[in-house]
């Protein structure tokens, strides 16, 4: 019975003020960037948006005669928020291109909107392989789990590692990583003695590490989302698995450049496979890292930021190819087969699957003039996403 009279008045007024928002549309291509700026995945949002902004700063905001306007919106990592914001950006704000998507469910929730509204959606972070199958208007500039788990399997088999225990987070990307590492490693003669799965909401790794230690493998292959990886690293060394002779190999998410320094000594020597490291030596990367640090008070760009950077690069390249025509089908046609040199190295978009083809580097964590870096030592050239290649 709470303030019934005032409630009616307040609700009426509130609904009224909604009508006040103007809708503007002129010779501008609006790019809607939907990212988790708050909540547990806020670091992803921060990195990707910084990467995208760095691209615009270094390449100007006009391409093929069209002005690019970036609208950044926060979905707090909640799927139906992402969906609603995407629909509003397309319907109300006239966004021509959607981008961002920090997690797989966020990308999946926007697939129906992309298809129905014929608006391209560029995935800049989410890693599960099946996303690009969800809609013909989805492309990706980050990478897929199978894409950078497979080479770790190859490397392990080639470097005398006989048996491995896999330890992954029990959710979509984790299962992908486990499946493709095991498939490749077995194909190359290796043997996976045990597959441990860690609940997503996991406060303590003790029991799982103990299981790994008891299995006494040559190495443990790990996939964990970046935030949790640092906690795992500490407990890995504290439990003495390193000095029990068990090598730690993982995907690049675990030694995420964003928090590598704060992991400290335990992370040294970890072998990971990923498509980008801040320490990657190429002229494009040096320029990118320098511009990024200048614009973001010395924050170190990680693989998420390069996903944002290349996402913008893809938009600019596609618009140039279509001479500024940002309509969905034309844009997607232009995207297929696009290739350019990214800070991470040469990349291209696979015409059939619209997913990214890129080099995957094997790297080791070393201390380089006072800072911990992922130093690359081996490259697997232009790898496609194996999941879709196999499904064809």
């Amino acid at each position: 019975m709470l303030k019934r009279r005032t409630l009616v008045a307040a609700a009426g007024a509130a609904l009224g003020c909604l009508a006040a928002f103007p809708v503007a549309a002129q010779e501008v291509v609006k790019v809607g960037l939907i990212l988790p700026m708050t909540g547990p995945f806020a670091s992803t949002g921060r990195q990707v948006s910084a990467g995208a902004k760095t691209f615009i700063q270094t390449h100007g905001d006009t391409v093929a005669g069209k002005k690019i306007e970036l609208i950044i919106r926060d979905d707090a990592g909640v799927a139906d928020q992402t969906r609603r914001i995407a629909q509003e950006l397309v319907v109300n704000d006239g966004a021509k291109v959607l981008a961002g998507f920090g997690l797989t469910p966020l990308a999946m929730s926007v697939a129906p909107v992309a298809t129905q509204a014929k608006v391209p959606a560029i995935v800049m972070a989410a890693g599960t392989a099946s996303i690009t199958k969800a809609s013909p208007f989805i492309t990706r500039t980050s990478g897929t789990l199978p894409q950078y788990s497979l080479p770790v399997g190859t490397w392990a088999a080639q470097n005398g590692i006989k048996n491995v225990v896999t330890l992954v987070s029990d959710y979509g990307p984790g299962i992908d990583a486990e499946k493709w590492f095991t498939k490749e490693f077995k194909a190359k003669g290796g043997e996976v003695t045990e597959a441990v799965r860690v609940p997503l909401q996991n406060p303590d790794f003790a029991p799982f590490l103990q299981r790994v230690r008891d299995a006494k493998p040559d190495a443990v292959f790990v996939f964990l989302p970046s935030g949790v990886g640092s906690l795992f690293m500490k407990q890995f060394s504290e439990r003495g698995l390193a000095d029990a002779g068990i090598k730690l190999i993982a995907t690049g998410d675990v030694t995420d450049d964003d928090i590598l320094n704060s992991m400290g000594k335990p992370s040294i020597g970890t072998i990971t496979g990923h498509f980008y490291a801040t320490a990657h030596d190429s002229p494009e990367n040096k320029a990118y890292v320098e511009a990024f640090k200048k614009a973001n008070d010395n924050m170190r760009p990680n693989f998420m930021s390069v996903g944002g950077y290349d996402g913008m690069a893809l938009i600019y390249a596609a618009l140039e190819k279509t001479k500024g025509d940002a309509s969905g089908p034309a844009f997607m046609e232009a995207v297929k087969g696009l290739s350019w040199t990214s800070p991470r190295g040469p990349v291209s978009i696979d015409p059939e699957t619209r997913d990214i083809i890129q080099n995957i580097y094997m790297r080791e964590v070393k201390e380089v003039n006072g800072e911990l870096q992922n130093v690359e030592f081996q490259t697997f050239e232009a790898l496609k996403d194996p999941e879709k290649a196999e499904a064809k």
């Binding site: 709470l2 009616v8 319907v91 109300n92 929730s109 129905q116």
Partner: protein, 346 residues
């Protein structure tokens, strides 16, 4: 002469006059209030006045149905629940799975989701019959978390942490296609909200509804006038589960996607906040609360994207400190005085 005799002589033939007046009084209690008409008209007007805001209006309608269903349990029967989203999420997954594997007709999906959520409510209702408020809070919280964990584990069925997608809905009743602007979605949700609220309104003013309020008001006295409390609470909890399941189904159908987030704890906390804002025990609290909560949250998330949670927390703390009942009592005196004068006037 004692007051009793005096009383009877004044109303000479007590049976005839008192009866008609009594029935009139009882009918007056359940008459359509002014604010009810206003809110439904506003909702329909919003369709025309705010074409660009269909999506947020749909979100309000879904949250309102979910809040009104909780009010049936919290406002009427006095059962505290921190896990009402278990039914919301369950309904969402059922609707999604139905559309994906069986029939993509929304209305059938909605009804089946409601029924199955009702069954889940029935099965878990015996858990809330025992113990105090604290135990009920804990048990419902436990059920909610268990459902969330189940959804994540059964990835083969529910898509796990990546969510359930890849299904699209046929037009509602074969006529209204789900359009991108969310127009059909809004009208569909509004219709379901209207029907649901009307059904719950009838239940509220039925003997059953009155007995629920009696159980909440004074359990011992309710038992002393032969109200079978446990049976009534189980029925109310099941009905609430049906409507919560339907609200979940609406979300799944209008976004053609079910994320694991439908079972997240924050939804149960949000819906409690909605009822605190809107007030409990008169059903419309859920609707008013949903409108204000969603708009405040949306406005805050635009103004301070990083820290809107702080202000939501602040609102909650301030509301509780002011004391929901003190606010409610202040409101009740206003219409009371207003209505009393009207009655004497006749």
């Amino acid at each position: 002469m004692s007051a009793v005799q005096q009383e009877t002589t004044v109303t000479a033939n007590p049976t005839a006059d008192a009866e008609s007046r009594a029935t009139r009084l009882m009918k007056r209690r359940s008459r359509v209030r002014f604010y009810e008409i206003v809110i439904w008209l506003a909702a329909i007007a919003a369709y025309f006045v705010l074409p660009s805001k269909m999506l947020i209006l749909t979100e309000i309608a879904i949250l309102a149905l979910f809040a009104v269903s909780l009010d049936l349990v919290l406002g009427f029967a006095g059962i505290v629940s921190l896990g009402h989203t278990a039914f919301f999420g369950f309904g969402a997954y059922i609707a999604g799975l139905l559309a994906l594997h069986f029939i993509a007709e929304p209305v059938i999906g909605l009804i089946v989701a409601g029924i199955l959520s009702g069954v889940l409510g029935l099965l878990t209702s015996f858990l809330i019959l025992r113990g105090s408020d604290l135990t009920r809070l804990m048990t419902t919280l436990g059920i909610g978390l268990m459902m969330a964990e189940l959804a994540n584990q059964m990835a083969w069925l529910t898509g796990g942490a990546d969510g359930l997608s890849g299904f699209s809905l046929n037009p509602v009743l074969g006529l209204f296609e789900f359009d991108l602007f969310g127009k059909t979605g809004y009208l569909y949700c509004l219709a379901v909200l209207f029907i649901g609220t009307m059904i719950m309104r009838r239940i509220a003013f039925s003997p059953f509804g009155l007995s629920l309020k009696a159980i909440k008001g004074n359990p011992m006295r309710a038992a002393m006038i032969a109200v079978p409390a446990r049976k009534r609470i189980v029925t109310a909890y099941t009905i609430a589960a049906v409507f919560a399941g339907m609200a979940g189904a609406l979300l799944a159908q209008t976004t053609s996607f079910v994320s694991p987030d439908v079972l997240a704890f924050h939804r149960s906390a949000d819906v409690l906040l909605v009822l605190v804002i809107g007030g409990t025990g008169y059903l419309y609290g859920g609707i008013f609360g949903a409108v204000l909560f969603t708009l405040v949250k949306d406005w805050l998330s635009v103004v301070t994207p990083q820290y809107w949670m702080f202000y939501i927390g602040l609102i909650l703390v301030v509301l509780v400190l002011i004391g929901r009942d003190r606010l409610a009592r202040w409101i009740e005196y206003l219409p009371e005085r207003f209505s009393k004068s009207k009655e004497e006037g006749r």
